[in-house]
Symmetry: C2
């Protein structure tokens, strides 16, 4: 049996047509998702494997996507460490006991995944059964810097003043925090693969706010640890962050199989900086999906033309799909990427 085209692309092998999935494809733009969330909180949904499974399957049933991604969130891993996470309506994630000192870091627990995030592992098992081989399932985690930023800032942050100040002023505590996070994240990713995830994405949503020197010294080593550990499970690993176009040439050092690219750069320019040996995922501007279809098509054509003839392109948005995105445009994009890339290969 042939491997699915999404996994072939992850392994930098040629595919029949360009595979496509969309970050946050299970999300608020779908009425089916909003119906579930009207009755259940974010944390409830994540912690109830049957609901997480149902949401994961919604876009797979609605569109011709080439991969499913488990419905979960990057932050619940922090709960088991001792951080009080809540999702506050209109405010996003809030942690009311953020890390403020080396002692706070020392006190962080590192429970095994089976104890900390059993619900996501169970959801993965359910989804694999439900998918029955239709498309591969992606597991994921936040990366160490991104999780450290939430843990220290106590939520989202515009400038990351607290986390960067901590990183500089407390180098030993920073190393201990990043070590703990890398261990926990690595275990979590391996556990997801063992539960059935066939690829793993590491979201470093916030690392693009760092100067390259700080990224190299204070963050990259821990990304390397996480990715190496995840790959020990035998599945390919995707590394993704936004606003990282100033350090693309450093990203091969992460060791990831696939590098995600945001929409702020032409994908072939990014690929040239990353290097031909890697697979690349991206990079349509999520807001383009609000434009008239002709504009969406023209932007998709641009990406497909710039990746034509290269093995290892996974079509995706350059960031998560937005809540108000027209569903019909999603459907048309998915079909168009398949049709157009098939035509380009002929």
């Amino acid at each position: 049996m042939t491997e699915h085209r999404f996994l072939q692309a992850c392994r930098h092998e040629p595919t029949d047509v360009t595979p496509i999935w969309l970050m946050r494809q299970a999300g608020r733009y779908m009425a089916e998702y909003r119906a579930i969330r009207a009755q259940h909180s974010m944390l409830d949904v994540i912690r109830t494997p049957e609901l997480a499974c149902e949401i994961t399957m919604q876009p797979i049933n609605a569109f011709d996507l080439d991969a499913a991604i488990i419905f979960a969130d990057i932050l619940p891993i922090l709960i088991g460490m001792g951080l009080n996470l809540d999702f506050v309506k209109g405010e996003g994630p809030v942690i009311d006991n953020p890390i403020r000192s080396a002692a706070d870091v020392a006190a962080l627990r590192t429970p095994p995944t089976e104890e900390n995030l059993p619900y996501t592992l169970e959801a993965i098992r359910l989804v694999r059964r439900e998918l029955d081989g239709k498309v591969p399932l992606i597991g994921f985690s936040g990366a160490p810097y991104t999780l450290a930023s939430y843990a220290i800032e106590g939520g989202g942050s515009k400038n990351h003043t607290k986390v960067k100040s901590f990183m500089h002023a407390e180098p030993d505590a920073w190393a201990m925090l990043m070590d703990k996070l890398a261990t926990l994240i690595g275990d979590y990713l391996v556990a997801q693969a063992e539960a059935g995830a066939q690829a793993l994405q590491v979201f470093d949503s916030w690392a693009g706010i760092l100067a390259p020197m700080d990224y190299r010294e204070k963050v990259l080593p821990y990304v390397q640890t996480v990715i190496e550990r995840a790959q020990s499970s035998g599945v390919p690993v995707i590394y993704f962050g936004t606003n990282m176009n100033g350090l693309l040439s450093m990203l091969p050092e992460t060791g990831a199989d696939v590098l995600g690219v945001d929409w702020r750069i032409e994908i072939d320019d990014a690929w040239d900086q990353i290097g031909e040996d890697f697979a690349v995922q991206g990079n349509l501007d999520p807001v383009t999906l609000f434009a008239p279809w002709e504009d969406i098509q023209r932007h998709a054509d641009n990406i497909l033309a710039r990746t034509a003839g290269r093995a290892g392109h996974i079509f995706n948005l350059g960031h998560g799909i937005l809540p108000e995105t027209p569903v019909d445009h999603v459907r048309r994009l998915v079909d168009y990427v398949h049709e157009r890339s098939a035509a380009l290969k002929r």
Copy 2:
């Protein structure tokens, strides 16, 4: 008489030491500034030439900076067009009658600068008198896309869904809006030069949120118009935006004399992509100023080492200085850049 080193660097000429100024150097991190703002609103200060002059001079009197920048804001230009701008505490700028249609664009007025922004021109004249040749004075304006985004979104915006949707769905109205803005901005910049500004910075704070294809087709032509017009006054023009590291190789097409670079890329990598013929301004992470002095020094050393031997580097932050920045670190940075770059040139 020799020209000041800041202007020499703008013109890509060698300097005795590396010139330095800081974006938002007249701002909330200074107690003298907070004392004035405690008694006057943002719009009041901008519209009172004596206060704008006093604030402009505060960092010049406190630190050994190589340029002053007129205290003003990019948004008041919109008021004369017919948009109701207000600065709401905790929320930032708000426009309660944002552009929603082609008819709204057609109705926008384009008053002459002398009528629309006389107070900033008068402030420039006062500051030039006060500076008495000590350091050059920079005038500035927002760029067309950045102003269009505020005018259409009605304030700041995370994803720019409205402005990008308008840009795609209403191409003719978009062109008319950008034309009107480019004309008004060009006039404003020339008027500032005529009033005494010796260099002009064009802030495209938000253009880095665009895909390169959209930037090239829908934004760059108007940036070119603005910069060409500004240069007709005979002074050098700096073009700056953040998150533009994916389109650095396109930026020479703006025609700017100096290109500003944010902190998310090593400055020599950026300079190589921009090309040796241009002067470059940047690029210390503003949050680095919160770190222990040794870390600030190491990051400044990194920038100075990477620009050593190249004419046309203006040291600056990679974005505006933050409100809580320690004043003593600002003083030490300014002096250190002079001392260290002098040593590197020996």
